[in-house]
Structures are given as structure tokens and as C-alpha cells.
Symmetry: C2
Subunit: 309 residues, 2 copies
């Protein structure tokens, strides 16, 4: 099955091309077939990145044959043109095992951020998906309800507690990120710890008991004291660092002098259209904007394109 | 502080009116002050509902004085006109303690769904918020990373593991829900287990490694075989049953005969505008639509209003 992409300007890390095999992964007999399928392949990811092959030209994720003895955990990503694809956590391999991996000529590790810019749209989406799923398993081996060790179920789409019977599902943390505008100027901030000149639009996690529109207004207020209104959804992006889902918005604001209230930002202020455009084009050495892998840059570029014409 | 509501037609369970005191909850000295504040109150919620006072006319959440010995866990919801408000988990009270609760005349338990229709917008939002936070604590007393018991931190906005040092934050599961249309007809389904005639729009959890727009397309395909496109975000709603965040969309579809692929739906088909309008008005005994507390009904009513004019 092939689902058409929802838009031609989809952010990096979307566009994962596999059939997730949502039903087949619940069937143990079918899973045994998939594990034994000679076409089965495994892609490798860890907390420090993914393994790619193909040199500098057009790298792809390295696909290794599933070892005859099976792979640790057997986490099924889905089906690629009918062939099963699994995810292997590099953190579970010993140094010797890593060295022995069939490297297909040019196996090398790159960060997930690099994957977002070096790989094709679909391959980067696959890298994000494998990373998200493995990140969750790596940090959720125990039952949050009773503390017992849990076991992989549904070929990696859940974990089951043998003691209390609880089922646990992959966690995805929704996070709002937004361009906020007043009279043609854009609100941006610098996080504590970021170097001087590094700025981006505001962002924060959705809290319990609020809509995502309310999260936009609350986060902008907490981080800047600015009252935003009329948040309009723009686009979203999976962001597995380690488990976020970025929800991109644009909002208007009443103006005023921004001031960090929650001390998350070391600096927060309004920027003119010219300053932001120059920042995007690399012509403003005092304004280092996020790279193209993040939805932040897409939102900023969209704002400049809309306001600059 | 009072943040203006983002829209006058906000779904039930939005509109939580408290200042969340995001910064103050990180300060132990300030927390001790808040616990000792004679204006401090506690609202009570459990897995089976919330406690209200005020009879049938205009009920509000029951607010009990914080007991002198403190309350179990000390989960701060925030500040109500400067007065601290805590959340108490009814499940942690013994039967005797529950009976001894100061009932303010008319303390009685109602379900959270009832709260969504009986209480004012703000009080229902407060009920949803308290429920969401307590649901999370109740099911996450242990560290998913190492299995040790964890302790409440940030006055309830996180839990800390004393063994491995991990911090855990409240979990909110994003879920897409969507009207899907083809040639003036609406796609709806009946879940396995629902009675005959009970139908709603399709919905499902966002998976790791996908945008919410992609989740719309995937879920519609998995549940009906229908290919949706151009998903447009409409509105969102916190839905703490136990921890969801509903993300409402509208999408167009290419048509075709719907058929459940993943067996989540016992029935899925297209409905005419007239049939849906009659269902909303209670004039179609064969079409029982969701009640007003859920965003599903808002999405359906929006579709009827847009197409019926």
C-alpha cells in the first residue's frame, strides 16, 4: 500500500514510506513468517544516530540481513514493497558485534539531524521513525504502573507487563512551536545556554488539560509575557529527540515589550522582517537561525515569504 | 494572570482558568507557603469522576480546605485568583476518609463526561485538568527506565527517580479525529462493541515517526480503506480518558466503498447530509451520534453547518 504524501512541502522526518503492518504485527504466526523471510532487512539506530551506506553521493540507511538467530527484540518497522523491515538498537550491540556488522561497503554512523538533511525525504522519515520507536523501548523497559520488567508486544508497537497486566504504548510528546507577529515584527528568543546570536521562535510542551491552541497562548505568555491570540495551525513534524511531535502555529499578538517570565529564555525580543530575511539568507551575522531540518526554519521562512511580498 | 480564551466556540474541557504557576512550583519554599495558605483548597477527582457541590442548579467542583496534615502527594493545580488549588486523588482516600470529607452541603460524585455538560466551561476545564494530572500520577508511580519507585517533583508536574535519576513528565497521547467527505457525504463508523446505530467519525492515535496530517491519512486508510487527502486542522480538545489529546481535522477523500481493514470498526460507510443532520437533531433513530461533550460532535455539527447552507 502506498499512501500519498499530504503535501509537497512536508517537513523533514515526515514521509516515512513503509506500510506499518498494523494488523500483521498482532499475529504471531505471521510475525514468524516475516522474521524468516529471506528479504527481511534491519536498519540500525541508536541514541547517537543512524547507520547509512552509499557514500557521499546519495546515502541511504544501511539495510543488513536479519541474522539467522534473530535480532534483539524483533521490532518490526513495517513492510517495504512487501519485504519486512526491522529496527535494531545499536546500543544493544557490543563493540565487537558493531564491528562485525555487514557494512555494505560504506556503513557509517551519522546523527539524526544529519540524516534529516543528507538523506532523501522518505529515508529521513524512516530514520526518524526507527529512532522514535527505539528511543521509546530503550527508556521504557519497566512498567510505570508496578515496576516490573516488561516485554515487547505487537512486534514493537507495545510493551506488556507480566505482573500487573498493563499494556504500554509508544509515547509521543506534543509540543507547540509558533511564529508570533505584531505589526510586521517576529517574536524570537534565545534559550539559556545557546550562544549569542542563536535565536528561534518560541516552543514548549503541551500540558495536561489544555488544547494545543491554549498551549500556544500559555507558552508565549510564560516565555515572553506577550499575549498571543488567534493561533492558526500551519504544519507538524515528528521530532524524535527523543520523542516529540512538533505542532507548528502562527499567532498574532497585541505587542508590548517581551520579557522572559519563566527564565527558559536568556533573551526574547521582536525582530524586523529585514533582519529575519537577512538571517535566513546568512547575511545577518548577529542572527543565527535554526537549520533546515527543523520545522522552526519552515515556519520562519513561511512568515518571511508571506510578509515580504 | 488571565489568558483570554482562544475562541468563543472552544470545545468542552478547554478553558481551564487557573494560573498553572509553572515557576512557583519549582520553588520548595514557595510551595511550603502555598500549602500553608489558609485560602488553599483541594478539588477531588478519581478514575470514576469528580466531586461537585451546588446541587442541580449550577454545580461547581467541590473545594475542600487543605487538611492541616497536608494532602497525599500535594499536587498543585495552580492559582485561582492568587489562592493555591491542589488536586486530591479520591483513590487514595479510604472509604471512611471519603465519608468524612466536608461535603459543603451537596458533595456528590459525577463522571467526567457529566462534568463536561453539567459544569460551566471553566469548571469543566478544571475537572479535565485535575483528572488528567491525577490519572498520570496514579499509573506512573514507577520509573519506566529502571523500575524503581518515583517521587512527585515540581508539585506534581514531574516525577523523579531516586535510583537512575530520570525525570518523568505527564504523558499526553495525541489522537487525530476527522470528518472525511466525498461528494457531500460523510464517512463514519461503528466500533466493535458499540450498539447498532451508534456511529461517529474515525479517530486514532498518532504513531511514532509521523506528522499529525499523516496520521489522519493513515488512520482513515486503516479503518476504512478510503484514501483521504488535504487534511485541514479544525480544533483540539484535551480528553483525559485517561490521557488523550484530540486533534480535530477535516479531509477530502477520493470516494470508493469503505471497508474496515484493521477490524477496529464493525461497520463503516458514507452518510448523506440529510441523514447526519437528522441524527444531530435526534430525528434519525438509526443514527445515534456522539454527545456534545466530545469534539466528534463539534466536527460533525460544523460539517453539517458548512454543507447545509
Amino acid at each position: 500500500m502506498s499512501i500519498p504524501a499530504h503535501t509537497s512541502t512536508a517537513p523533514p522526518f515526515t514521509g516515512m514510506p513503509l506500510d506499518r503492518a498494523t494488523e500483521e504485527r498482532k499475529d504471531p504466526a505471521r510475525m514468524a513468517e516475516l522474521l524468516a523471510d529471506p528479504r527481511a532487512r534491519t536498519v540500525l539506530a541508536g541514541s547517537e544516530g543512524v547507520v547509512v551506506a552509499g557514500g557521499d553521493g546519495s546515502p541511504t540507511l544501511l539495510r543488513v540481513p536479519v541474522p539467522a538467530e534473530g535480532i534483539p527484540g524483533a521490532i518490526l518497522l513495517g513492510l517495504e514493497d512487501g519485504a519486512p523491515m526491522f529496527a535494531g538498537d545499536l546500543e544493544e550491540f557490543s563493540a565487537g558485534e558493531r564491528a562485525a556488522l555487514p557494512a555494505d561497503g560504506a556503513g557509517r554512523r551519522i546523527s539524526l539531524r544529519e540524516a534529516g538533511t543528507l538523506l532523501s525525504h522518505g529515508e529521513a522519515g524512516l530514520a526518524a521513525y526507527a529512532t522514535a520507536l527505539l528511543n521509546w523501548h530503550r527508556r521504557h523497559r519497566f512498567c510505570a504502573n508496578c515496576g516490573a520488567g516488561t516485554a515487547i508486544a505487537e512486534a514493537g508497537y507495545s510493551r506488556h507487563c507480566p505482573r500487573c497486566g498493563a499494556s504500554h504504548f509508544p509515547r509521543t510528546d506534543p509540543c507547540v512551536i509558533m511564529t508570533v507577529e505584531h505589526e510586521g515584527r517576529l517574536l524570537m528568543g534565545r534559550r539559556a545556554g545557546w550562544p549569542a546570536g542563536r535565536l528561534s521562535v518560541l516552543a514548549g510542551f503541551v500540558s495536561p488539560g489544555e488544547s494545543i491552541e491554549e498551549a500556544v497562548v500559555r507558552e508565549v505568555y510564560e516565555e515572553s509575557g506577550i499575549v498571543a491570540h488567534d493561533p492558526a495551525f500551519i504544519s507538524s513534524q515528528p521530532w524524535p529527540f527523543p520523542a516529540s511531535l512538533m505542532l507548528g502555529f502562527h499567532a498574532e499578538a497585541d505587542g508590548g515589550e517581551p520579557e522572559s517570565r519563566d527564565r527558559e529564555l536568556a533573551e526574547v525580543r521582536w525582530f524586523s522582517l529585514d533582519a529575519v530575511r537577512d538571517g535566513l539568507n546568512g547575511r545577518n551575522p548577529e542572527l543565527l537561525l535554526p537549520g533546515g531540518v527543523s520545522i522552526a526554519r519552515l515556519l520562519i521562512a513561511r512568515w518571511v515569504a508571506l510578509r515580504g511580498s
